[in-house]
């Protein structure tokens, strides 16, 4: 099992013992995290942009634990970036893409990429021999979520 990285905007209710909560995340669920951004005003809801790293199973349990403690956890979308211009239409990536986001046009034998169907499983990153895929977090979202 490989550790995964996810980003969350977390809203801690006023007076919540956020220190104790995060301590438990590390101790119980073995989740490593770093704070990328923080908006904390005493007496108000505090928002944190966190990057978490953990085994998928622990990640899920940790988030469930936080939500049970009235922390609102909003996942930040990760996106697959595709450098289409260098694609040679070899088809390697379609072998691992199970959502149908990457398919071959069986007339022209060209690659079709439908980002709407992508679940960011990231299998295509290693599968493409031209190294044309990359994953990234939405850059614009955190600001908007932190500030509303």
């Amino acid at each position: 099992m490989k550790e995964i990285t996810r980003r969350y905007v977390m809203k801690f209710p006023p007076q919540s013992a956020d220190k104790a909560l995060t301590y438990k995340l590390i101790k119980e669920y073995d989740i490593k995290f770093s704070i990328l951004k923080a908006e904390v005003r005493p007496g108000h809801t505090g928002s944190l942009l966190l990057e978490l790293e953990a085994l998928p199973e622990n990640m899920q349990k940790g988030i469930e634990y936080l939500e049970a403690n009235s922390v609102v956890c909003e996942p930040l979308g990760k996106k697959i970036k595709f450098e289409a211009g260098k694609c040679i239409n070899c088809g390697n990536c379609t072998g691992v893409c199970f959502t149908g986001a990457l398919t071959m046009d069986r007339e022209k034998w060209e690659l079709n990429f439908d980002p709407e169907l992508c679940v960011v499983c990231e299998l295509c990153i290693a599968a493409c021999p031209m190294n044309l895929f990359d994953s990234s977090f939405h850059e614009e979202e955190p600001e908007a979520i932190l500030n509303n």
């Binding site: 040679i88 239409n89 070899c90 088809g91 390697n92 072998g95 022209k108 299998l123 599968a127 021999p129």
Partner: protein
């Protein structure tokens, strides 16, 4: 005696712009309605194409001499080791040679950088001799600054290839692509009815000296490729049902371009080179017309389990099924994916067709034919080894 045509007659037609040229896919479609005896009368040349990763590839380079001169005994190009045992300033750069500090960058990438006219760093070491006193150099080279740059690939264009799947519970990263556990995908690499060596399975017109399309320019077949095997089992259409014959090819790297020669990196495998090859097949007689009429459903290949030791055989399939997107392996439906570009293979067959039609590309009668009855030897260990 059926209708026959000579190479000279075909070339005469090419010179006068009257040659009828079809791609292998076009002629296979034509064969649904016309018999080989009619096809040989109507068609003069059939063009084929393939664009896939061909690991046994590389380039012969001559850097030119420095003053004072140097006998380069150990060399790297952008950190990629290349062969030093070839006189003073000659080298052979293998496509799969890797930079030990960045294994995603290898000989294939150097070749691509060179044809894209980028500068490449040459570093070389020698012990220094009376006639070659210099011991070390670090300098920049490009395709323009060096003497010869020749692509020479010892084994390309496999006649048919296995389909790869993985029955184990672990993901496998191979040169046939990423193979998911539990037979969740099956990958194939041959261009089917467009594939060069499947259109002349007995190699009647492909031999030493055959002029071909290579990497975007004119190249030549120089020898049977390594691991040349004519003993593979054939089906009722005379098609070997797994990887069989291969060719060694040569061409001027300075005239090639990265549309048809492209570096690749396979996760947890290494660097390789995608090579574009197109071979024209002359319609000499009915037998050749019959050969090029072969259709995807008649070209069969073997499915192997690349996840298990010794790659056990799981069954057979054909290219019509493979290209449909799903095959059946022992009762289980398995999704298929190509790992070589059929779109590029078509582009190559089309380009070759156009240059023959325009009189720029004449056909060659091989000056020597390839051996028959060859099979492969295994390497046995005599001193023990490590698994």
């Amino acid at each position: 005696m059926g209708f026959k045509k000579s190479y000279e007659e075909i070339n005469e037609k090419i010179r006068s712009g009257k040659a009828v040229v079809l791609t292998a896919e076009e002629v296979s479609a034509m064969a649904l309605e016309l018999s080989p005896s009619e096809i040989v009368k109507r068609v003069d040349v059939v063009t084929t194409g393939t664009f896939g990763a061909m690991c046994s590839s590389g380039a012969i380079l001559n850097f030119g001499h420095t003053t004072p001169p140097m006998r380069m005994e150990r060399m790297t190009l952008n950190g990629v080791p290349c062969h030093g045992g070839l006189a003073a300033v000659d080298t052979y750069l293998g496509a799969t040679s890797e930079n030990p500090e960045n294994i995603r960058y290898g000989g294939a990438n150097v070749i691509q950088d060179l044809i894209e006219n980028k500068e490449v760093e040459l570093e070389a070491w020698g012990k220094g001799t009376d006639c070659y006193p210099r011991k070390y150099i670090k300098t920049k080279i490009s395709l323009e600054t060096i003497n010869e740059a020749t692509l020479f690939n010892p084994r390309n264009a496999y006649q048919n290839y296995n389909v790869a799947t993985n029955t184990t519970s672990k993901i496998k990263y191979t040169y046939m692509g990423t193979l998911l556990p539990g037979m969740k995908n099956a990958n194939y690499s041959t261009a089917g009815e467009l594939s060069p060596l499947l259109n002349d399975p007995e190699m009647r017109t492909i031999g030493i000296g055959t002029r071909i399309f290579l990497g975007g320019t004119v190249g030549y077949v120089v020898w049977p490729g390594t691991q040349f095997n004519t003993s593979k089992e054939k089906n009722e259409y005379g098609i070997p049902m797994s990887n069989a014959a291969t060719i060694a090819v040569i061409g001027n790297l300075k005239e090639m371009n990265s549309n048809f020669l492209r570096a690749a990196y396979y996760e947890k495998y290494g660097v390789s080179l995608f090579v574009g090859i197109g071979i024209p097949i002359p319609m000499l007689d009915e037998d050749m017309a019959h050969r090029v009429s072969i259709r995807n459903e008649q070209i069969e290949t073997s499915i192997l389990d690349y996840g298990s030791a010794g790659s056990p055989y799981l069954g057979k399939t054909n290219y019509a099924e493979l290209q449909s997107g799903e095959i059946n392996i022992n009762g289980k439906k398995v999704r298929t994916a190509p790992v070589a570009s059929l779109q590029k293979a078509r582009e190559i067959a089309d380009l070759l067709k156009k240059s023959i039609q325009s009189g720029k590309f004449e056909l060659t009668c091989p000056v020597g034919m390839f051996p028959t009855g060859t099979s492969l030897k295994k390497l046995f260990e005599t001193e023990g080894g490590e698994q």
